[in-house]
Amino acid sequence: MKNEYDIIVVGAGPAGTTAARFAAEQGVSVLVLEKDRDVGYPVRCAEAINKRTADEFIKPNDKWISSHISKFSFISPNNSEVLIDFNSVQGYILERKIFDYELAKIASNAGAEIITKAYVNGLLLEGQKVSGVTAEYRGQQINIKSKIVIGADGTESRVGRWAGIKTHVHLKNMESCFQVTASNISVEPDTLYFYFGKNVSPGGYFWVFPKSCTTANIGLGISGLEGKEKSALAYLNDNLARLFPHASILTQVAGGVPCSITLEKITSNGIMLLGDAARQVNPLSGGGIASGMIGGRIAGIIAAEAIRKNKLDHIFTYEKAWYNERGKMHEVFNRLKEGIYSFTDEDFNKIMEKFQKVPLSKRTIGKLFRIALANKPSLLIDISKVFLV
């Protein structure tokens, strides 16, 4: 480790290492600092990603793909199930431990330096401009300088706060999550299962994402506001007892997913925020891997250009670039989320009943949302923009 780099990335998740890779590929010097001892572990993730985005960044490999997804199943509060069959692979359930490692290796092969067990605990400032980080490493407090700091430090991000950016998530938009990886269950390995209902997972959903015929990530997220009454863990225990009473629990993990629109400000003097830290998660699905990697590519390229042109103000173009590529779409997803989470159990049951009447070959996600929001014309226009064009 040197004491000065062009770019320091805080956090070695998919967003951070993707930013590091795209910056390093342009020949600038990049250091990635990770607080945990391992890249990719612990896994706080349901591990689903859409195939199209994953394939843009890394060649598919069964080393890190547990299962190939071609069907979605939605289960209503009254337990009726509707299936959408896409007839082709739409997504993967990852083995994040290996996937994150592979992304880190790609970044590292591109020239980025990655250090784990390095806890960033502050920013260096020159006047108003961020000029590096302070960190705890091997029992010592160290200073490392850089022209740009990229904060990819997750849900618990503090890097942005230290730079004066308001990053805290509204309680309503923080999905409070708990997940187990369970075996001794029986699932279709090509199907993602989503359960809805106020007794199942209020202000969120309960998921079963298969890793094989007998193993799955089973978890849920509830809106932080709902946690006032009952915790995510308590909801999960109830659902497990009801649906998978014989499951063996192989791992269990808590987590928080910020499900909102992207922060208004994700760039400041010498600093860029990324991934969960910038609240770039898809607010409808809660998926953050793909959007974090897309954000990472944009941020990495722009940061490296700023260094190479010796024009640090160039990093401010990141906000617009993100907005055009994903941010705008997330605003629509967020409105959909708010529409859907205002539904009562009766609404959900009715929607599923209607959707069941659509022949299997004609079922699409767009169609489902159209039925779901048939009584909200303004949202319909939004959906058509996303799904039908």
Binding site: H168, L171, C177, A254, G255
Partner: protein, 72 residues
Amino acid sequence: MYRMAKKGKLLIEILPDKCDFCGCCVGVCPEDAIELKEASIRIIDSFCTNCSKCVWACPIEVIKFNKEGVEA
């Protein structure tokens, strides 16, 4: 169900033995009053305003109002 805390004093505490270090509480804290490392967590007393958002966001109920802070 949780009860409301009184104001003015550190009334929220984390049970570190039970914490999973997921960072959900840090994400909702409006005051940057929680410090999370790999496997350690603490509330920075001087920043905490007892807003209790962390208590509600915690997926596994390891953040609590401590006894003297709970109104009967």
